[in-house]
Amino acid sequence: MTLNLDRPDEGEMLAMAASAAEQARRCGADFADVAITWSRHISVELEANDVQLCEQHETWHFSVRAFVGGGMGLAGGDGPPQDLHGTLVRAIELARLAGRDPDFADLPRPNGPLIDARLLDLYDPLVAEMCLPDAARLGRHCIDQARAIDGGILLSGDLTFSASRRAMAGSTGVRMQRAATYAEVDLFAVARDGDDIGSFSDQTVSRHMADLRVAPLAGRVVRLAREYQHARPCRSGTQTLVLAPLASGSLLGSLAAATSAERLRRGRSPLARLRGQAVVSPLLTLADRPLSPRGIYTSSCDSDGSPRRDVEMIQSGVFAEPLNNHYHARLWGEPNNGHGTRQGEISPTNLQVAPGSQTEAELIADVGEGIYLQAGSLDPDPASGDFSSALDFARRIEKGRLTWPINDAMAAGNLLEVLSRVDGVSSDYRSDPGLILPAIRIRDVQISGTQ
């Protein structure tokens, strides 16, 4: 069986994957699955107010997972799948060398039809057919737009448009095929007056051209780069911290990832042994919604081929349900919610945080003295949840208003302790496709400054 390399077709890819999975079983694997992916992407890089270069790439990737006695071997490669037989033989060799896993029973079997791909709406021909001259003109337009707003700004960034086709087949009869597109524009603005420098970066991502918000993005990064000039030190002590959506995502995303059944079982999560308990503020409800139409992390099934479903991991502050995969669902006797990766781990998809009742502006207006972190990661340790992080893009709040930007300051704490002190979640939020991230307000966060 061969593929048409010039016009990749998911149907052909699926047939090839299915044939190889069955062949792997005949060659000695207890279970096997095969994934084949093709993608094409074009990108334009902007540097210092100019178009630096244009790129165009075409890539293939294929991999075979084989299981023998519960041990897993994974073999794969980049390039068209011309020697799948050699790859599956290698995967089986590796699986035989892996240690036996008495808890492994099988790979998922087909369990009813997957959600119709048309409902997920992940493919836009306008993105797939984007050509380089048009992309370069769009890049030039971003620069011209930024310079029209502020002639002193230096703009860099990149624009990427990609289309991919993927097929996966398992020896248990699982079949999946998908076509998707993805567009992303990242812009980075620097405002400089001698040694007084402000900067800001942000992005817009989408599955469809219609969802890409390029014009507001350029204006936003230019304005915020200027606002981050004239930064000053701040004082040390416990203060109220308001995290804008670009910053709250680091803490709330870490909390979502900590609900992985694999990390809970291994003791690598601060939520280990806390299921059913109140772990954070009752104002916080976190859900993972992998079937959101047009979502950035949307797909009908996970990498094992299990159908995905929505999970509300944190309900009003209580750790209600972990993210799992076929292996852990069976191990714990629970329904499979389809969050498995090809490496046997568990990963969140589209994070949606339930909005609150006050706007972000109202959350800030209630703060007498504090700090507003507009962007930057607080990056907790994945096992302990402890963090000690710089406040990269932060501004002082005084009497309910945003004032000057601060520099050289840090925040420290523990993920669960800090999120227990959340006393406000905003009703307005950032909504990259599939995601809902509001601002949150946290009392009594330890801040280190130079004043």
Binding site: V44, E45, E47, A48, D50, V51, Q52, L53, C54, Q56, H57, E58, T59, W60, G71, M72, G73, L74, A75, G76, G77, D78, G79, R90, L94, A95, L97, A98, G99, D101, P133, A135, R137, R140, S156, V190, R192, I197, G198, S199, Y228, R266, G267, R268, P270, A272, G344, D381, A383, S384, S388, A390, D408, A409, M410, A412, Q446, S448, G449, T450
Partner: protein, 470 residues
């Protein structure tokens, strides 16, 4: 020189005949194996192979890059045609023309320097060795251990490069990595500790690795961290272990000295070439020629010989790290810092092995400790990052100790320090006589990761912000 570089050269010359002022083509053929041993069981055994060709052309002052995952002549032709189209698309939107300086053609082929080939041991023996290392760590943590994971990877990348100046370079880069992470809890305090070893070389990294300085050490560290105090917060003098000194050199200074970042107006060092930016006595070097170091290579990914580049000499900012394009912009010779993650990428100006040079007449670490009344000793580096344009950097330590009245005190956990580059460099008040470079890692920039290492001597910075909760 092999047939493949001749084909790459032919591809470049065709691009020139079709209007390119300069062209280079690179191909990669590689394969690797990775193993994970977790809680006493070998799991996730994987192997990966890859190959492909990338072509870059300069047309009308604009760059175009294209790549395919195949090594056939038709793939090269497709990549060349596509790169030319990409460059023309860029030229239509570009205002300022890029260029490449005059180059003397180089022809060379470098074979790997390995003491023990990866295939000297069968996979079963490697697994047995990894299980031995992992189990030793888990045993050392005793009943406090929650999870013990050892990951191993080996791989060899064969790179071929040609350009329209006539350069044809082949080199082989074997890399070997072992990482061990242990999670433990003592009285409900959960912590994680990691040990990481990596080098440019062969299997000798694994065969010579003993449990005591590796997995057992990580276990000992994690138990100590579980019992350590949270760090204090505030501003204080900091004694840096060489691993943190390396992070300072890499994050605070190195990224700001990458000439493409500098050109784009994204470096805090803008317009400071030739000026003092650090305390006198501070010399910072990026050196891709250190034998066996993780960031070393014979030629960069544009075919320029690897070099030892001084960035700061005795406190004065004296040099940038260049790729071909930035060297032409600044009218200097390229200095071997154009690096790519793989054949599909454009070369960026990158670091290799970056360090603060020791002062042979400098103090010992014991003398440095005695000189501090109240401060911190950051004892093990973990990671860091920098916002080059604003000069803000962060270094995170795996472990640290209080210093009181010139003596080491309690152990601390979760310690990060941040600073402003220009403040921190001028506040280096002591540079030690010792030297260590043991922070191998993958440095990311614009989506590309390349192997790097960093290090230096112990140094004292008179004041920095510590992010703690005590």
């Amino acid at each position: 020189m092999n047939d493949l570089t001749a084909k790459l050269l032919d591809c470049c010359m065709r691009a020139v005949r079709q209007g390119a002022a300069f062209a280079d083509a690179r191909c990669t053929v590689g394969q690797g194996t990775a193993l994970t041993v977790q809680d006493g069981r070998a799991e996730n055994l994987s192997s990966h192979s890859y190959h492909g060709v990338g072509v870059r052309v300069l047309v009308d002052g604009a760059w175009g890059v294209s790549s395919c995952d195949a090594l056939t002549e038709s793939a090269m032709e497709r990549a060349r045609i596509s790169a030319l189209a990409a460059a023309r698309a860029a030229a239509g939107a570009r205002r300022d023309a890029a260029s490449v300086g005059q180059m003397s053609p180089l022809v060379d082929c470098r074979q790997p320097q390995v003491r023990l080939a990866f295939d000297a041991w069968p996979l079963t023996r490697k697994i047995a060795r990894l299980l031995e290392l992992e189990r030793a760590g888990a045993a050392a943590a005793g009943g406090h251990g929650l999870n013990s994971v050892l990951t191993y990877s080996e791989g060899t990348r064969h790179q071929q490069l040609a350009n329209s100046a006539g350069t044809r370079i082949g080199q082989c880069l074997p890399h070997c990595r072992v990482a061990y992470t242990i999670t433990a809890a003592v009285d409900d305090v959960r912590q994680q500790a990691t040990e990481f070893k990596a080098h440019l070389g062969g299997l000798e990294l694994l065969t010579e690795l003993e449990p005591e300085p590796f997995s057992v050490r990580a276990a000992s560290n994690v138990l100590r961290q579980c019992r350590a105090r949270p760090a204090p917060s505030g501003v204080m003098p900091i004694l840096f272990h060489p691993s943190i000194t390396g992070l300072l050199a890499h994050e605070a200074l190195g990224h700001n000295a990458e000439a493409d970042t500098y050109w784009a107006g994204q470096s805090i060092l803008q317009d400071k070439l030739g000026q003092p930016i650090a305390a006198s006595g501070v010399t910072i070097v990026d050196d891709a020629t250190v034998p066996g170091a993780y960031g070393s290579f014979a030629y960069d990914d544009e075919g320029v010989p690897a070099a030892r580049n001084v960035i700061v000499r005795d406190g004065v900012f004296v040099g940038l790290l260049h790729n071909l394009e930035t060297a032409a912009r600044y009218g200097v010779a390229p200095n071997g810092c154009g690096r790519v993650e793989d054949h599909s990428c454009q070369p960026l100006a990158r670091m290799s092995n970056t360090f603060i040079a020791p002062d042979p007449a400098g103090p010992t670490v014991e003398r440095m400790i005695r000189s501090i009344d109240r401060g911190l000793y950051l004892a093990e580096g973990h990671e860091g990052y920098v916002l080059p344009e604003r000069g803000l950097f962060v270094c995170r330590a795996d472990s640290a100790r209080l210093i009181r009245d010139g003596q080491l005190g309690d152990w601390l956990r979760d310690v990060s320090v941040s600073g402003l580059v220009l403040d921190a460099l001028t506040r280096i008040e002591q540079v030690g006589s010792d030297f260590e470079m043991t922070m191998p890692g993958v440095c990311g920039k614009l989506g590309q990761g390349v192997p790097t290492d960093c290090g230096g001597p112990h140094v004292v910075v008179s004041e920095m912000v510590v992010g703690g909760i005590d």
